[in-house]
């Protein structure tokens, strides 16, 4: 009865395994030459260690939110893409085009608004 869950288990195992394997493989095979630059996870950006309660610039947040919003909006493209073929076959090609143009235009307008209001500028 539980065989139905097998795919989920496999997925779980794969996900965990992938992470673990990568960690261990690099641990095992990698050569270590530690210096200050290497100790940092990235060579730019903010300090990774220390108190978590430092003030971040509000722009981190703003950019992140803007990214998520535009990112998630694009999910509607899936719906459009799924039905586009059928609609085109039914001779509604102009409609298909008009739909996507309108959708992207609205997103574009929103982007322009964000730009104009300075949401994309780092130094303000």
């Amino acid at each position: 009865m539980l065989t139905g869950y097998a795919p989920i288990l496999v997925l779980l195992a794969l996900a965990i395994g992938f992470a673990l394997v990568n960690l261990f493989v690099s641990e095992l095979m990698g050569r270590r030459r530690i210096n200050v630059g290497k100790a940092d996870p990235y060579e730019c950006g903010m300090e990774a260690q220390g108190s978590a309660r430092i003030r971040l610039s509000i722009h981190f947040y703003l950019i992140a939110v803007l990214f998520i919003l535009f990112d998630v909006e694009s999910v509607f493209l899936i719906l459009w893409a799924v039905s586009a073929g059928d609609l085109k076959a039914a001779g509604l090609a102009p409609l298909v085009l008009a739909e996507i143009v309108a959708f992207v235009a609205v997103l574009g307008l929103a982007l322009a608004y964000v730009w104009r209001k300075g949401g994309l500028e780092w130094d303000r």
Binding site: M1, G4, V65, L69, I78
Partner: protein, 109 residues
């Protein structure tokens, strides 16, 4: 052999309950927001489960797509709500240096 639909519903109900409990019990706004997010996703799971149920129903001729459709809308709305919610939290923090919901008590008689 596939996973029975009931299990999906039960899982979604459990997730919804966990989300509700988190909503009631946590004081940190961020965690409350996360709880709400969990509730929304529980609903999403229920939608997908129901869609699966209706698709597999005897006599069904085509897939019941309204459920997944709804789920996609929910994902987008969840993102929008998170954006607005976080903006309010930031405003609150700037104003009062706290994200503790228990401190949000300026409004009363």
């Amino acid at each position: 052999m596939t996973v029975p639909v009931e299990h999906l519903f039960i899982l979604s109900a459990i997730l919804f309950a966990i989300g509700t409990a988190g909503f009631f019990l946590r004081r940190n706004v961020i965690i409350v927001l996360m709880s709400i997010e969990l509730m929304l996703n529980a609903a999403n799971l229920a939608f997908l489960a129901a869609s699966r149920m209706h698709t597999l129903e005897a006599g069904a001729t085509e897939a019941s797509l309204q459920g997944p459709l709804f789920a996609i809308f929910v994902i987008v709305v969840a993102a929008v709500e998170a954006a607005v919610g976080l903006a309010l939290v930031i405003a609150l923090y700037r104003n009062q240096q706290t994200v503790d919901l228990e401190q949000v008590t300026a409004l009363k008689n």
